[in-house]
Symmetry: C2
Subunit: 186 residues, 2 copies
DNA sequence: GATGACATGTAATTCGTTACATGATTCC
DNA sequence: GGAATCATGTAACGAATTACATGTCATC
């Protein structure tokens, strides 16, 4: 249900086209909510059919017309309503942890390689988050200073997550190195 | 693709029925990978059709027959192969962060209530993880001491995640309290 | 007498990904 | 000449959720 509200949220910030929304998803919230082009267009049509959006079609030469979507009154109230609701608890699906649970079947070196790779990716991500916090253009659209803080917090969440994961990964490698090869429990 | 391998992993640990698998998913790995009953039965049929599983049907009185699934040689090698592969980077979908990004449209008290609720749920989860680490029955199926460490690590990952999130949530509430009501940026 | 554990499944629907399809303009 | 940007969409498939459907036995 969240994609719907994310779109409403973006269009409340600034009425715009599906194409632009796509870029917003890839850029600003991409790290904690992705959406593909097909999903976006499908949802825009649905939201319009439900009366949450209205469209202004702006013809262009040589290109498909820009369809600029904006919230209707009912769209705005739907957004407001969603904001007040408690969020469903996030349930993550982590393929790495799944692998870890069954990893005793494979040689330790293999798992360590997987973890090393993971560690590397995490540190890249961490650097990305840190860079985003520093780049001013991300916060340009912010309308109030509170909004700015909200956006900072969303990035800091990612940063904190990365850091915690990195620490865990390092600790995991250390501990696994210490136990060595699998030996039957007595 | 991970559900498939999770099932192979569980059945490698101990051949069993769809019903039991359901409980394993709800219990042991439930915090980082969920699967519903329909998903499990569907996947079991598919895995069998692919030759990764074989079934032993044990009739029962008054109940549907137990269908005990076990890995075939090809199932075992599929599992081994998956274990060596790098995991696809986990991409999380966090509805709370999404809400945060658009929350400037609603009064600060509303968001704070949402965050307070979130904080409360996190601390419950944290306690759950801590309890799991202490409960010996979870580690009973472990075949080697290394496997035991692997399972501990998977729980500790959840614990670390919870702790990091809790800290973030508290910090977020403090910061938002300090900025107060939205005021137009100058 | 009701609830929960045991045990199987199917059907409908929604959500998400990948691939296909078109076409002008601008920049390198 | 080729790639990137702008701009729309459809189709097919796969993964996940929810609801439906059945039936016994043991326990409270």
């Amino acid at each position: 249900m969240s994609l719907k509200h994310a779109i409403l949220g973006f269009l409340d910030l600034e009425p715009t086209t599906g194409y632009t929304l796509q870029q917003r998803f890839a850029g600003s919230v991409g790290s904690f909510w992705t959406a593909t082009q097909s999903q976006i267009y499908r949802e825009l049509h649905a939201l319009q059919a439900d009366g949450f959006l209205q469209v202004e079609v702006v013809p262009q030469k040589g290109r498909p017309p820009r369809k600029v979507y904006a919230l209707t009154a009912s769209g705005r109230s739907e957004l407001r309503h969603w904001l007040g609701q408690p969020s469903p608890p996030l349930q993550l699906r982590d393929p790495l942890l799944l692998k870890l649970v069954f990893a005793d079947r494979a040689p330790p070196e293999e798992l360590d390689a997987v973890l090393a790779q993971h560690e590397h990716e995490l540190s890249l991500r961490q650097a990305e988050y840190a860079a985003r916090l520093e780049s001013p253009e991300i916060f340009e659209l912010a309308r109030t200073s509170r909004e700015r803080v909200l956006w900072e917090l969303s990035i800091e969440n990612g940063l904190a997550w990365c850091t915690a994961q990195l620490e865990w990964t390092r600790e995991a490698r250390r501990r696994l190195d210490k136990v060595g090869r699998p030996r039957r429990k007595k």
